[in-house]
């Protein structure tokens, strides 16, 4: 097994099997790190907790819901305003967060009464909102409050409201992934099947594992609508609580982030016979093939093809402008879970960059299988990386850019490695054809930043050019380009706007007359 030994982790032998390099002749049966195991205490891992996986990642993107955490105030505060999952109802779920504010006396005497009072207060404060999710925390789990019973009691007394209970305390699992799992299963067990939707199309899908980061969901839903498809629900970005209770009525589950949401797709398949189609919203090739598959499923592949042709013609020359300038640049692809496989091959094939390393904070071995499968030979794959390993890897690999989270990005900055936010994006959305160009543009701007170049100069030692008073990205990137490519009329820089989502919200869509009568169930 081609394990990679980090010098900094020689003293913790348990780490040995968590990093591999896929060498020549290696495949997944010989190169796969361990994954999703308990974290080594004190290793300064980047992992979060199961509560955040449930509340912060999957729960809160649901837009028309009061998201209340039953516990002390910190869990709530800490997982509030650190994400960019927007919604078309003025970001209600981003703006408001609720804690029952459990104190010492509640720890001793129980906090169920406090919880009930909180629920009533919150509904009173927001009279237009009738849906709520309650999140257990470490404290409320350990004192054994029966949150389900309190929720049932309130629903009995207030028939107009509906409450979902998610029991995923912070300690429940090796990482945030434990919470993804728990909230998936809780949702299908408690809520799916108890609302019957209005069916408006012959083609009905759930869009699953999509969190509307900077508008990703709205970009993808735009394509589906242009194909005449009804997106019954989105799990969960920009998703509506009641729509998600009707997930059982879709014909197809279109799954994006399998890491966080394959559980519910698998259960829907078992319980309701709904097939699961895994797709990629990132990358021209993968996205085209994804749209085509959804089209094929419904026999409307011509509509998919029309979109693919139109979008490719519009955006490909811009993607290729960046590809010419990003060729051979080394990337550390260090996200949380799914982006390592969503992006690994697509950025290599379509932007020309070399993925020298992938890592996953909270992924499982299944994510590493996909990620490593999509990498070229020689890539270093790390499971549950820690601070020192990341530093050692960056020093060894000398990447030109790193895609990771906000805080690790600050670590990279000090090594003079530019970073892009892999979770929240820099200037997203990154999904869709235009989004993919936006991603390429951000990578390009990161790598060829004139200010970044200055950080390599030591004014006390180095010769300082007195002629150069400024540089542009293009002056730096085009130095080694052939005249033909540099001045190509077929290629162009990104021409889109800073903000692209509002226009989608105001769009009208073609009416596709139904072939057969729709059953209103």
């Amino acid at each position: 097994m081609p394990y990679h030994k980090f010098k900094c982790s020689e003293c913790i032998p348990e780490r040995e099997k968590h990093a591999v390099v896929k060498g020549p002749g290696e495949d997944l049966t010989s190169a796969l790190p361990l994954g999703y195991l308990n974290t080594i205490p004190g290793s300064i891992s980047e992992r979060g907790c199961a509560y955040c996986g449930a509340k912060h990642v999957i729960g809160t993107p649901m837009k028309d819901v009061i998201h209340m955490s039953h516990g002390p105030v910190g869990c709530t505060y800490d997982t509030w305003q650190t994400k960019r999952y927007i919604s078309d109802n003025d970001n209600f779920q981003l703006k408001y967060t609720y804690a029952t504010d459990m104190k010492e006396k509640h720890i001793i005497f129980g906090a169920e009464k406090l919880l009930k009072q909180n629920i009533i207060e919150a509904f009173k404060a927001f009279p237009d909102i009738k849906r709520m999710t309650l999140y257990q925390t470490c404290a409320s789990a350990l004192i054994g409050d029966d949150i389900n019973a309190v929720a049932a009691e309130v629903m009995e007394e207030m028939p107009e409201v509906d409450i979902f209970v998610c029991n995923a305390p912070g300690f429940g699992g090796p990482s945030q992934s434990g919470g993804h799992h728990k909230i998936n299963i809780a949702w299908i067990n408690q809520k799916v099947g108890n609302v019957e939707p209005k069916i408006t199309s012959e083609y009905v899908i759930n869009y699953v594992g999509e969190y509307n980061i900077q508008g990703d969901q709205e970009v993808m839903v735009d394509y589906f609508r242009r194909m005449g498809i009804q997106v019954l629900s989105t799990f969960t970005g920009n998703g509506s609580y009641d729509d998600l209770r009707a997930m059982h009525r879709a014909h197809l589950n279109v799954l994006e982030c399998a890491r966080s949401a394959e559980y519910i797709c698998n259960e829907l398949r078992v319980r309701y016979g709904t097939p699961r189609l895994d797709i990629d919203g990132f990358g021209f090739e993968a996205l085209s093939s994804s749209l085509r598959k959804v089209g094929l499923f419904f026999g409307i592949e011509d509509r998919a093809q029309a979109i693919i042709d139109e979008e490719t013609a519009r955006w490909k020359p811009e993607l290729d402008w960046y590809k010419e300038r990003l060729k051979g640049k080394k990337v550390c692809l260090w996200p949380g879970g799914s982006k390592l496989w969503h992006w690994a091959h697509a950025i290599h094939a379509e932007m020309g960059v070399e993925v020298v390393s992938v890592y996953t904070k909270f992924g499982h071995q299944g994510d590493m299988e996909k990620g490593i499968a999509r990498c070229e030979e020689g890539a270093l794959a790390i499971d549950d990386p820690n601070e020192l390993e990341a530093l050692e890897a960056m020093e060894m690999l000398k990447p030109d850019i790193i895609f990771t989270g906000k805080r690790p990005g600050e670590v990279a900055k000090k090594l003079r490695v530019p970073y892009l936010n892999a979770h929240a994006y820099h200037n997203g959305p990154y999904k869709g054809f235009e989004g993919w160009v936006r991603f390429a543009r951000d990578i390009y701007n990161g790598i060829y930043s004139p200010i970044h170049q200055l950080s390599f100069i030591d004014i006390s030692k180095d010769e300082i050019s007195t002629d150069t008073k400024f540089l542009t990205q293009k002056m730096i990137s085009d130095v080694n380009l052939s005249e033909e490519v540099a001045c190509s009329k077929d290629l162009r820089e990104y021409t889109g706007k800073y903000e692209t989502i509002t226009a989608l919200r105001n769009k009208t869509y073609p009416d596709f007359p139904a072939q057969k009568k729709l059953s209103v169930v």
Partner: protein, 462 residues
Amino acid sequence: MQCEVKNKERAGVINPILTCQPCGAQYASIGIKECIGIVHGGQGCVMFVRLLFSQHFKESFELASSSLHEDGAVFGATHRVEEAVDVLLMRYPHVKVIPIISTCSTEVIGDDIDGVVLKLNNGLLKEKYAGREVHLIPIHSPSFKGSMVSGYDVAVKDIVSHFAKKDKPNGKINLFTGWVNPGDVTAIKHLLSEMQVDATVLFEIESFDSPLMPDGNSVSYGNTTIEDLTETADALGTIALNRYEGGQAAQYLENEFDIPTIIGPTPIGIRNTDIFLQNVKKMTGKPIPASLVRERGIALDALTDLTHMFFADKKVAIYGNADLVIGLAEFCLDLEMKPVLLLLGDDNTSYPDDPRIKALQANVSFQMEVIMNADLWELENRIKNEGLELDLILGHSKGRFISIDYNIPMVRVGFPTYDRAGLHRHPVVGYAGATWLGEEMANTLFTDMEYKKNKEWVLNVW
């Protein structure tokens, strides 16, 4: 018409103003050199606090977790603290100080972190790390008590009491800054240096604002040394700028080592800075130099241009850490403004006894509310449903949507201020802080006048 002090009436919290105790303990921990704290609890208690610090400072700080998982929550997890200490010491050979910070989960399950520290001191440290200076400091900061403010206060006290040891007088003063920014430390050290006063500043966090260097250094760090902390027992006096952030540690030094102690006032605004300098003078016998008279004059000159023309009668709401809120309110009053709503973000029951709050009650002649245990809904609800009209909000970034949604200009101040660039670099204390705050408020109001076309032409001839 008067100042009314009361508690939030609702039981729960909608949009909290402060986070919980472990965050405060972690903020203290990162101020110490060669120190990495271990938070005993779930991983989120560390990961998100590190994220919060990195949002505020645009820097990364090192903090470790004992990574409490299910088995630990059921059977106890002190062994994970032992492992964490060992792993940390093995991999970070420079580390000398390890605060062990408890959380709600590990307090509820009753993990005995003092016992673990004792065990490690007598076992692992003697056997495996003999000859290495290592300090393990248990800090009890359960999230279900107090807030990040009390967590900071408790941690500073526990850290100081661990190290403070009487030797010979060092002629310095101890200066507890409270929960401030690097810019504040710079401003305070400047004042002390002008007065030629030698001080141990707790904590030395100017180095949080770390550079991007040609050789590539990797992390931001605090710079308070073990020696600094040890010497606190030898000081000629202690000044704690904030009552609720460092006050306990100051009190401890006074009780334990008879060190003369002055707590407060938070030196925000001209008057509070005057008092601070007066206190330093009293404690050290050093005169206030002409240079500071001049500096004060520059600040007064700047503020005089603004007060009755622009600030007079402007209604302000202020939220955040209590010391900061009170200091800002006092400054606003001197600037002729009306701080009509003060939101103190935790349930400290001693707030009503704070002489500064009593002074507000005794002297304010307009309607003013001080809400204890407040959340941001106390502010928003008053604006949205109860007709509160405001000209300005002073507070941290978590309240940004109130400003945005209700079109009320807001000056970011306190912690965290992630939605504005570089604020940690600017002081709010001292004369420099008074000038910066005053001008920031004015410029914010000016921008708002222009944006709303509300007498924007006034500025033509100002």
